[in-house]
Each structure stands twice: as structure tokens, then as C-alpha cells.
């Protein structure tokens, strides 16, 4: 009966996605044994990411007060912040570990929503903006490692420059743009500081895009999870100080060849061990473009296999609509707008209406929640009419 995961999946890709869907929901069952379902952290991966982002912004503002963006001073200013400023090291640790939590939250959010088909129909706006959020978050993490301007930052910069240079035609110009001149100078760190904070501001623009088509987005996780995550980040910052990896300051003479790895942000740079820079750039671009294509190209089921979940865009029955706004309040995708009614409806209740509901078809995901909201029979899913439901009810009670 239920066709979500048992429909005749056609093709290897469809079968793979179906087994991933089943696996994701199997994981939920396990977690739901530990927590009430309202508190399942896997249901709040987006909210947790947002919480970590908020933590990052607050701790980042604190760090910004002490940071000095110049070749000679930046490493010393970070040292001063870590050792001399009360709790400076803790805040720095919070910034670091919250960033790890942020990227993990984003990736979990992406995989979960991909595997459970939450990118289909009109949900492509959150998906596309989410890909940009991921891209920007990764880039911000990378520039964050550069700001410290130790030997790792120095090596990362030269690796990144190599990646930029490998881009055909635009490579040289991009490199000049990134390091601010022909060689690394004080201006480079100013640019990197901007490339750390500017995209971080842009994250909130993308978040607006992420939320704009959703009526009640789950922006924050439940309160206990807020406390737990913030507490965990603080505990980690205290228990595992970021200064445990002692990396010397960058000097023009130093030519480092290795650095402590960070699995959350620096994987592309780890790939440079095996692949030429151009291939890594190509891989990243392909991943991003492929990610953008997922809502349009990734079809787990054909429309026929979706059955009742693909019943067509909701339609307003003009004559019955009373302009009561109930569907407008309940639609989770802001797909229903109330417009001034051009004329009275046909039914008695609709005779004195002043508003009329209109479905914006490009936003409708065919969930049918508006049908449940409407007490006046003024909304229908074209391929699953009220008549069909009542016929099934009739068969059930007569048999």
C-alpha cells in the first residue's frame, strides 16, 4: 500500500535512493527510542546549524575586537587574545568548535533532506539556497584558518593560489584579486578578513532565501538542545584547547610542507596530495553544480510511482471560497495568497466574501494540507478529489 519505499523502483539510482531513504528513517527509529520524537535531534539539523551559526557570529564579534589584520601582527594578536585576554582562549575554541558543528549540521541537513525527498516540487528554493549556504560556509571556514597566519595558513594560501592559477583564462586575475597584488602583503590579510566576514554576512541573505517560501520554518532546535550544544561547545573549548596544535607563526622564510589536518574544512586541500590542483577545482565545481541539479535531475520515483503523493497542484473552487483565510494560514509553503474577491461566490457562505484564495502553482508541493484546512469544500487536489475519498470511506463502512 504505502508506496514511499516499496514502489517498483526502476533503475539502480532509484533503488539506491530508496534504500538510503529507508536507512535514514531506520536511524530515526533508533534515535526515537532515546528521545521523544519532538526532541529527535535529527529532526532539527537545520535549526542546530542555525544555532551554531549564531554562536559563531557572537564569538566572532568578540574575536574581531582583538584581531589585527597585518602580516606582522595578526599571529601576535591571536596569541595575545588566546593567552592574555580573560577567556579569550575559550572564545576562540568556541568559534572553532561551533564551526565544526555548523558544517556537520549542514551536511546532515543536506543528506537527510536529500534522502527523504524533501527537495521535490517547489522545495527547490530551500535546496538551491542551501547549496550556496554550504559553499559559503566551507569558504568561510577556509579563510578562518588563514586569518591566524601561522605556517598552516601560509601553506593553505599557497595551495589555494595554486588552485586559482589552475583555472584557465581567469586564473591569474583571480589570484591577483585574492591576494591583493602580485605577492602576499598586509593587504592580503585585510582581504582575507573581509572574505571571512563578508560571506558570513551573506549567509544571512541566503538564510532569508532559505526560509522565504516556508510558513513556519523550524529555525531553532528545542531549548534543551540549544543548552546542550552551546554547553558542549564551551566544554570542548575548555577541555581541548585549540592551542594544543602548536603551529609556528608564518614567516617569509618558512616553507612548510605539512600541517595538522582538519577533517571538516580542509578536505579539498588534503586531496591536493593525490590530485593536481586543476582536478581538485574541477571536482569542487562538479560537486556544487551537481548539487544544484539534484532537485531537477534526481528522480527516485516516476510520477506514476508517486501515486497519491502526486495528485496535482491544489485548485481553488471559486464558487465555494468564502475568503476565510484558513488555508492561507495553514499552507506550509506560502503557496496560497488572499486576493480581493472579484465577485461573490456561488454558495451561501461565500456570498458575502471580500477575499478569495489563490494558489500560486509554482509554490505548491501537492501535500493537500489546504484541503484539510478548508471547511467549505473550496479546495481540491485534481487527481484525488473529495469525491474519491468519500467513495473509499463509503466502501469501508459498507463492507
Amino acid at each position: 500500500m504505502s508506496t514511499v519505499a516499496t514502489g517498483q523502483a526502476s533503475g539502480r539510482y532509484a533503488r539506491l535512493m530508496t534504500s538510503l531513504l529507508r536507512g535514514t528513517l531506520r536511524l530515526d527509529v533508533l534515535v526515537n527510542k532515546l528521545y521523544p520524537t519532538d526532541f529527535n535531534p535529527l529532526y532539527y539539523t537545520g535549526g542546530l546549524s542555525n544555532l551554531f551559526l549564531f554562536t559563531l557570529v557572537l564569538s566572532g564579534i568578540f574575536l574581531f575586537f582583538y584581531y589585527d589584520a597585518s602580516l606582522g601582527e595578526s599571529f601576535a594578536s591571536v596569541q595575545y587574545l588566546t593567552d592574555r585576554v580573560p577567556y579569550g582562549g575559550i572564545v576562540r575554541g568556541v568559534h572553532r568548535y561551533a564551526a565544526d558543528g555548523f558544517i556537520v549540521g549542514i551536511l546532515l541537513h543536506l543528506l537527510r533532506n536529500w534522502f527523504t525527498d524533501r527537495h521535490l516540487f517547489a522545495r527547490d528554493n530551500p535546496w538551491i539556497s542551501g547549496m550556496f549556504l554550504l559553499l559559503f560556509a566551507g569558504f568561510i571556514g577556509f579563510t578562518g584558518y588563514q586569518l591566524v597566519w601561522d605556517e598552516r595558513a601560509q601553506l593553505l594560501t599557497s595551495m589555494f593560489v595554486a588552485m586559482l592559477r589552475s583555472i584557465p583564462a581567469a586564473g591569474a586575475a583571480l589570484t591577483r584579486l585574492f591576494i591583493g597584488g602580485v605577492g602576499i602583503s598586509d593587504g592580503t590579510l585585510v582581504r582575507i578578513l573581509f572574505l571571512h566576514i563578508g560571506p558570513a554576512t551573506a549567509l544571512y541573505v541566503f538564510l532569508w532565501w532559505h526560509y522565504v517560501r516556508q510558513r513556519h520554518p523550524k529555525i531553532w532546535p528545542p531549548g534543551v538542545w540549544v543548552l546542550f550544544c552551546v554547553g558542549l561547545v564551551f566544554l570542548l573549548a575548555g577541555a581541548v584547547p585549540v592551542t594544543r596544535e602548536t603551529i609556528p607563526a608564518a614567516t617569509p622564510a618558512a616553507s612548510p610542507t605539512r600541517f595538522p589536518m582538519d577533517v571538516f574544512f580542509l578536505i579539498p586541500f588534503w586531496l591536493l596530495n593525490f590530485l593536481p590542483a586543476g582536478v581538485v577545482v574541477l571536482l569542487l565545481v562538479a560537486l556544487f553544480v551537481g548539487g544544484l541539479a539534484i532537485p531537477y535531475a534526481s528522480r527516485r520515483e516516476t510520477p506514476v510511482e508517486m501515486g497519491v503523493r502526486h495528485s496535482g497542484v491544489a485548485q481553488v473552487i471559486d464558487g465555494n471560497c468564502t475568503g476565510c483565510e484558513l488555508c492561507y494560514y495553514d499552507c506550509p509553503y506560502n503557496a496560497i495568497v488572499m486576493v480581493p474577491s472579484p465577485g461573490p461566490g456561488l454558495s451561501k457562505a461565500a456570498a458575502n466574501r471580500s477575499l478569495l484564495a489563490v494558489v500560486i502553482e509554482s509554490r505548491c508541493v501537492e501535500c493537500g494540507i489546504c484541503i484539510g484546512a478548508c471547511p467549505f469544500e473550496a479546495l481540491e487536489l485534481p487527481k484525488f478529489l473529495e469525491r474519491d475519498v468519500l467513495r473509499q470511506v463509503g466502501e469501508a463502512v459498507q463492507a
Binding site: M1, R309, P332, I369
Partner: protein, 153 residues
């Protein structure tokens, strides 16, 4: 006893996997229960539940995904609220609100879903018998009885 009960269940296509549990729209282990697949639990119009009771069903229930995991974020919460409202409305009509149920189970929760449905059916079986089916048709209390604007033509 439970054999003679007629129970209608509206089941979100994303929630419990019915393939191993049912054939022909009927739960194998609880034969009195007919299931109707819907795209989201929020799709169910409370009138339909009331209508099913009026037409002689002994009980109706809606099954959504676990709270917090609705594919559309809100469907099962909205349905829970609507069912609470419907229960209050039915109470005024002296219909036992226990005849209406809201369940929430995920794809792999088939066993606990069955247990919950059985418990639901047993609770209904213990109630005094329902009034006989009214004439099929629209629910009688779509609007408060005295309200002048009913949209029935």
C-alpha cells in the same frame, strides 16, 4: 467482537509502511480496519472523519509521521489540532471522542502502529454501541446548529 467493528484509518503515505501489513486496503491482523492512503495527514478534512462516523463507522483514526518529522513540517501537528477541535465538537453531539484517534508513526514503526491500532479498536469495542448510521450525506454539524450561514445549497 472486534470482527464486527468498522474502523476507517486515513494513513499518510509517508508514515507507516503498509505493504507488509495490509492487503486490499484492509489490515491483515485487524480485519475490521480499512485504510485509506492520503498524501499527508494534513490532507484529511475533519468533515470526512465526522462523515465516516455518521455513515456507520465505529471509529476513525488518522496516522501521520512522528511529530517533528512531517515531510511538510506541519501536517501532523495541524491534524492533531484539528482532531482536538473535532473531538470537542463531537462531544457536544454526545458522540464519544474516543472514537476518533490521531496516531503518529514512521515508516518502520509497523509493529507499534499495529499495537496502537489494536488498542484503539479494543477501546472502541468497550464503548456502548454507536447510534445507527444516519442517511449518507454531509455531516450534520459542519456549522454550529444555529448558525445562519451554512454553505449547503
Amino acid at each position: 467482537m472486534t470482527q464486527t467493528l468498522k474502523v476507517v484509518g486515513f494513513i499518510c503515505d509517508w508514515s507507516v509502511d503498509l505493504a507488509p501489513l495490509s492487503d486490499g486496503g484492509r489490515l491483515r491482523e485487524v480485519p475490521g480496519v480499512r485504510v485509506i492512503r492520503v498524501p499527508c495527514s494534513g490532507f484529511v478534512r475533519p468533515n470526512w472523519l465526522e462523515d465516516a462516523l455518521n455513515r456507520g463507522a465505529d471509529g476513525v483514526f488518522v496516522t501521520g509521521c512522528p511529530y517533528g518529522d512531517c515531510l511538510n513540517r506541519e501536517g501532523n501537528f495541524l491534524m492533531r489540532d484539528r482532531i482536538d477541535q473535532l473531538r470537542r465538537r463531537l462531544q457536544r453531539r454526545k458522540v464519544d471522542p474516543a472514537r476518533i484517534g490521531m496516531l503518529a508513526f514512521g515508516l518502520h514503526d509497523g509493529a507499534s502502529f499495529l499495537a496502537e491500532v489494536k488498542a484503539f479498536v479494543d477501546r472502541i469495542a468497550a464503548l456502548p454501541p454507536a447510534p445507527p448510521a444516519r442517511a449518507a450525506g454531509r455531516a450534520a454539524v459542519t456549522q454550529p446548529a444555529q448558525a445562519s450561514e451554512g454553505e449547503r445549497p
